[in-house]
C-alpha cells in the first residue's frame, strides 16, 4: 500500500468539500481532496441559493432555529464565505454576481421565476423589470425545454427555434465553444431583427467561457441576453464544478478523484488515515485532520435503510426524525419532509457530536437540520459551512 501524508484531508468533492479545501489551502495547509466522482452540483442550476424564501436571505436566516447549521456559521461568517466564493469564481474565469443582502430572480424553464442569491454572469439579466419584452430562443429537438411554457406566462414574449444540429443541452453547449458555430448563430439571430428588450436562451452558451459568448451575442444584437437553467444534465452546474476544480488545481490542492473511501483508521480520539479504493494498489491517505463533506442521500454521504439512516464513511451517529412513516409527509409540494432534517449533528466548531474524535469536522448537506429543499439553501449552505468547518479545522491544526 502506498501512503501519503497531509495536514488536512477533505472527503467529498461537491461545493462544500471544494470550498473547505480551498479555505485550508489558502491558509497554507497541505490539503488533499478525496472524491468518489463528480458531484451532484453538476445537476443543479449553478446558482448559489442562500435562502430563497425571503427577498433578503440574511434576514431570513436570522429567523432560523439555533440548531440550523447557518446559525453555527453566523451572519458575518456567511458573508465572508460568499465573498470568498465570488473571489474564487472570478479567479476561475466564471464570474458570479449578486449580493448576500438581497435575492434576485432567475427564470425557470416553465416560465416561473425563482429567488436565488449569487448567479453566474450569464443569468444576471434574468431579473427583468416589469413591462419589458422578452424573446426566447429554443433549439430544435432540445429535451426538457418547451418555450411555450415561458411565453404563456411572461407577458409580451415570443420565441424562435434554432437548429444546432444536436438536441442535447451538453451537445449544444459544446457547439457554442466553437467560434464558427457562434458566428453562424449570431448571423441567424441578427436576421430575426428581434424588437424585444431581452433575449433568453436555455443555458447552453458554451462549456468554458459563457460570459464571453453571452457578451458577444449581446453586442451583436444590441439586446440584453441571459440564460435559463435547464433540467439535469445541467450545463451551468457542470461549469460551476469544473471552474472550482480548476482553482483547486491551481491552488495546489492534491486531488484523489474517482476513488471512494473503503476504510478509516482511528487511534484513540484521532482519525489517522483513510484507505481509498483504486484499480491498482490501495492508497492510504494520512492526515492530521479530516473534513467530511460527502453530502446527503443523493450524493451518498447518507444512506437510508428500511428503518434507519447510516453515515457511509465513518459510521457516525445520524440524527433521524422519527420512524420511516415520519420521513415524508403526504404532500409532494410542501417540501418540509422530516427526512430533510436527518444528518450528522455538529458542535460549534463543526465537530460531529456523540463521537470521541477530535480531528474530524463535517460540512455541507450531510449536516443535520439543514432542510435544504424546503428552505432552498443548497449551495449557500455548502459554501458557508464548508468555509466555516475548514476555518475551525485550521484553528485545530495551528
Amino acid at each position: 500500500m502506498s501512503a501519503y501524508g497531509y495536514d488536512a484531508v477533505v472527503i467529498g468533492g461537491g461545493v462544500s468539500g471544494i470550498m473547505a479545501s480551498l479555505t485550508l489551502a489558502s491558509g497554507g495547509f497541505k490539503t488533499a481532496l478525496v472524491s468518489r466522482g463528480d458531484p451532484v452540483c453538476c445537476l443543479s442550476t449553478g446558482c448559489i441559493d442562500v435562502f430563497s424564501h425571503s427577498d433578503e436571505p440574511l434576514s431570513g436566516i436570522r429567523a432560523l432555529l439555533p440548531d440550523h447549521p447557518y446559525s453555527l456559521v453566523g451572519e458575518k461568517g456567511i458573508k465572508d464565505a460568499l465573498s470568498f466564493f465570488l473571489e474564487i469564481m472570478a479567479e476561475a474565469g466564471l464570474p458570479y454576481e449578486g449580493d448576500p443582502g438581497r435575492n434576485r430572480k432567475i427564470l425557470t424553464p416553465i416560465g416561473s421565476t425563482k429567488n436565488t442569491c449569487l448567479v453566474p454572469r450569464t443569468m444576471a439579466h434574468a431579473d427583468m423589470p416589469p413591462g419589458e419584452y422578452l424573446h426566447v430562443i429554443s433549439f430544435q429537438g432540445i429535451k426538457d425545454f418547451f418555450p411555450s411554457y415561458i411565453t404563456s406566462r411572461q407577458r409580451n414574449s415570443t420565441y424562435s427555434v434554432y437548429d444546432a444540429g444536436v438536441p442535447t443541452t451538453l451537445g449544444i453547449a459544446a457547439r457554442f465553444d466553437d467560434a464558427s458555430f457562434l458566428d453562424a448563430f449570431i448571423t441567424w439571430l441578427r436576421g430575426l431583427e428581434i424588437p424585444h428588450d431581452r433575449v433568453a436562451l436555455p443555458a447552453v452558451l458554451g462549456t468554458i467561457d459563457p460570459a464571453s459568448v453571452m457578451e458577444k451575442i449581446s453586442r451583436a444584437i444590441g439586446r440584453k441576453v441571459f440564460e435559463i437553467p435547464t433540467l439535469p444534465p445541467s450545463v451551468p452546474g457542470l461549469r460551476l464544478f469544473r471552474a472550482l476544480k480548476r482553482v483547486l488545481q491551481s491552488r495546489g490542492v492534491h486531488l484523489y478523484w474517482g476513488k471512494g473511501v473503503t476504510s478509516v483508521e482511528c487511534q484513540g480520539r484521532t482519525v489517522e488515515a483513510v484507505t481509498l479504493a483504486t484499480t491498482g494498489r490501495a492508497k492510504r491517505v494520512q492526515g492530521k485532520a479530516f473534513v467530511l463533506a460527502t453530502g446527503s442521500f443523493v450524493s451518498g454521504g447518507l444512506f437510508a435503510g428500511r428503518d434507519s439512516v447510516r453515515e457511509t464513511v465513518f459510521d457516525l451517529p445520524v440524527a433521524v426524525p422519527g420512524e420511516r412513516k415520519d420521513w415524508f409527509n403526504t404532500d409532494f409540494f410542501s417540501g418540509a419532509h422530516g427526512i430533510e432534517r436527518a444528518g450528522v449533528r455538529v458542535d460549534g466548531s463543526f465537530r460531529p457530536v456523540e463521537t470521541d474524535l477530535d480531528n474530524l469536522f463535517a460540512c455541507g448537506s450531510i449536516l443535520a437540520e439543514c432542510e435544504i429543499m424546503s428552505l432552498q439553501c443548497g449551495h449557500g449552505l455548502a459554501v458557508a459551512t464548508g468555509v466555516a468547518a475548514a476555518k475551525s479545522c485550521a484553528q485545530g491544526l495551528s
Partner: protein
C-alpha cells in the same frame, strides 16, 4: 405503437341522447368482459367508465391468473372456477397471458399437514400439481430461498389486466358497441321506479350525456353499492384493501406462492421487467379513500424476502393498493370470505355483478349476460370461451429488440418510449390524459416512475395543442402528487435517493413548491 388500432374507441359520440339495449357501468375486466359477451351475442350496448380501463381493482391487483391452487383448501368452488377459466384464458388471450407456471414453496416451519390437504384438494379440483425437491425448485428459480423444504408446481400464470380490458373492449367496439372511458355516471334515470338510463359526465369536455337503455349492468366492483343505491336499491359488500409492492427487477420467472393458509405477503408475480409482491387484507369503508401504510410495505417485503431473499435488498419502485369487492359475509376475517361472485337482479332494470376476481372475469360476464338475455327473452349462447380475443395479432408483445428498433429521441429512458410513440398516442388515439399515455406506451412505468418523462410528455402534449401550457402544468402537479402517494410508503435506499433528485428538479429548478 402497440395499440394504434384502438383509436376509434375514443372518438366523441355525437349528440347528448344515446339509445341502446344495455348500459354497462364499469370498465374493469368484468365490465369489458360483459361488453364482449354482449357483442358476440348480438346485443347492442354501451360501456361507461369514469377513468381509464382497469381503473379499479382490475388495475390494482397482482396480475395473477390463478390456477386455483391458492383457494383449493379454503374455497374449493372458487378453485374449480379458477382452473377452468385458467385453461380458457390461456387459449383465448394468448397475448395477455404469460404462461409462467407457479410454485408453492414450503419453508421450514410451514405445516406439512396443510401441504397434504393442499395436494389432495388440488387433485379434487382438477388442478395439476407436481412436488419438487428443494434442489429441483432452485434449478427452476435460482433466487429462491435455498432453505425451502420443497415446492409444488401449479399452472399459475401472469396476466396483463389492462391489455385484457382493452382487447375485450375492442371486440365490443368492433361489433358496434359504444365504449366511453372518462365518462362518470352522475345519475341513474328512473321512471316509475325502473332504471331506464344513465347520465354521464364527459370528464374532458364537461358535457353531460344521457344514455337510455332497457337494462343497466352495474359492474363497478368496489363502487357497486354506491351505484346500486343511485338506482334505488342496494348491493351490500365487504370491501378489503390489498396492498402490493413492485420491485425494480424480475427476480423470478415463475409465480411464487407460500405453501400455507392464505395470509399476508404470500405471493410474488413476475410481470414484464418487474415483480409484484402482495398482498395485505384490511377491511375498509370507502373505496376512494385508501392509502398504503408503510407498515404494509414492510410486512409484504419481509414476507416476500422469506421466499426470495433478494427481495430484501432489491429496490422497490412503488407501492399501491386496490380494493377487493367481496361478497358480504358474517366472517370478520376478510381472508375467509368467499372469492365467489353473485349476480343480483334488483328487479328495477338493474343487475349488479358482485364479488369474484380477475381470473374468473369471463365466467362472471357469461353468467351476467345469461341473466340479461333471459330477461330479454332471447336465446343466444355464450361464445366468449371459444373465440380468441380480437386484435391480438396486431400486438407486438414486449420483446426489447422490437422496442429498440428504430427508436429515436427517447422520452422515457426507463421503458424506452420515444417521441414518435408519444406523439402517436396523442394524435391518433386522441388521448387527453397523461395516465392514458402511460397505460398504452409504458411511459413512466420504470424506476423513476415518470419523475423525468412525464414533464416531457406533457411538454409534447401542449406543443401539439392538445393542452394549453397552463393546463399541462396543472396536470403535471396532479401527476406528481399522485405519483408521490405511490412512492412514499416504500421510500428508502436508492429509491429515496432518486426521489430526492426528482424533488430537486420540481421544487428546486422549476420552483413548483408552495411557499411556507
Amino acid at each position: 405503437m402497440v395499440v394504434t388500432f384502438f383509436h376509434d374507441m375514443f372518438h366523441e359520440e355525437s349528440g347528448y341522447m344515446i339509445k341502446t339495449d344495455v348500459v354497462i357501468i364499469g370498465g374493469g375486466a368484468t365490465g369489458c368482459g360483459i361488453a364482449r359477451d354482449l357483442a358476440l351475442r348480438g346485443v347492442h350496448h354501451y360501456l361507461v367508465e369514469k377513468g381509464d380501463f382497469a381503473n379499479g381493482a382490475t388495475g390494482a391487483c397482482h396480475g395473477l391468473l390463478h390456477s386455483g391452487a391458492r383457494y383449493a383448501v379454503t374455497d374449493p368452488e372458487a378453485a374449480r372456477e379458477c382452473i377452468g377459466e385458467n385453461a380458457i384464458l390461456r387459449r383465448i388471450a394468448r397475448k395477455c397471458v404469460e404462461t409462467t407456471g407457479g410454485l408453492f414453496v414450503r419453508l421450514p416451519g410451514d405445516s406439512k399437514r396443510y401441504r397434504d390437504t393442499f395436494l389432495s384438494n388440488c387433485e379434487e379440483a382438477g388442478i395439476s400439481t407436481e412436488v419438487l425437491s428443494a434442489s429441483r425448485a432452485l434449478d427452476l428459480v435460482p433466487e429462491l430461498n435455498p432453505s425451502i423444504e420443497e415446492a409444488v408446481v401449479v399452472p399459475d400464470c401472469s396476466i396483463d389486466p389492462f391489455r385484457l380490458c382493452m382487447l375485450n373492449a375492442f371486440t365490443s367496439r368492433h361489433k358496434g358497441g359504444g365504449i366511453l372511458i372518462h365518462h362518470k355516471v352522475i345519475d341513474i334515470v328512473r321512471e316509475r321506479g325502473r332504471c331506464t338510463g344513465v347520465k354521464v359526465l364527459d370528464r374532458f369536455t364537461s358535457q353531460i350525456k344521457e344514455i337510455r337503455a332497457k337494462i343497466i349492468i352495474n359492474a363497478t366492483g368496489a363502487w357497486g353499492d354506491t351505484l346500486a343505491r343511485m338506482g334505488g336499491s342496494d348491493a351490500p359488500m365487504t370491501l378489503s384493501k390489498g396492498s402490493l409492492i413492485i420491485s425494480n427487477h424480475r427476480l423470478t420467472n415463475m409465480v411464487i406462492n407460500r405453501l400455507r393458509p392464505p395470509s399476508d405477503g404470500d405471493i410474488i408475480v413476475p410481470n414484464e421487467a418487474v415483480c409484484l409482491a402482495g398482498t395485505t387484507s384490511i377491511p375498509v369503508d370507502d373505496p376512494d379513500a385508501v392509502e398504503v401504510d408503510p407498515r404494509e410495505v414492510d410486512l409484504v417485503a419481509t414476507q416476500a424476502e422469506q421466499m426470495l431473499p433478494r427481495f430484501g435488498t432489491t429496490r422497490l419502485i412503488r407501492a399501491y393498493t386496490g380494493v377487493r369487492p367481496l361478497l358480504k359475509a358474517e366472517a370478520s376475517d376478510s381472508r375467509s370470505i368467499s372469492r365467489g361472485f353473485k349476480i343480483i337482479d334488483h328487479k328495477n332494470g338493474m343487475f349488479s355483478i358482485l364479488g369474484g376476481k380477475l381470473s374468473t372475469y369471463r365466467l362472471m360476464a357469461e353468467k351476467t349476460v345469461d341473466a340479461v338475455v333471459k330477461e330479454f327473452g332471447i336465446k343466444a349462447h355464450c361464445k366468449t370461451a371459444d373465440i380468441p380475443l380480437d386484435g391480438q395479432d396486431e400486438l407486438s408483445g414486449y420483446p426489447l429488440s422490437k422496442r429498440l428498433k428504430g427508436i429515436d429521441n427517447i422520452v422515457c429512458e426507463c421503458e424506452l418510449v420515444d417521441r414518435a410513440q408519444v406523439e402517436n398516442a396523442i394524435n391518433s388515439l386522441g388521448i387527453q390524459y397523461i395516465g392514458d399515455i402511460q397505460h398504452r406506451t409504458r411511459l413512466g412505468m420504470g424506476p423513476c416512475q415518470g419523475g423525468f418523462c412525464t414533464y416531457r410528455a406533457l411538454g409534447i402534449m401542449q406543443e401539439t395543442g392538445r393542452l394549453t401550457p397552463d393546463e399541462s402544468i396543472e396536470i403535471l402537479k396532479h401527476f406528481l402528487q399522485r405519483r408521490f402517494r405511490g412512492i412514499r410508503p416504500a421510500l428508502w435506499g436508492d429509491q429515496l435517493r432518486e426521489e430526492q433528485l426528482v424533488e430537486s428538479i420540481y421544487l428546486g429548478i422549476l420552483n413548483m413548491g408552495q411557499r411556507a
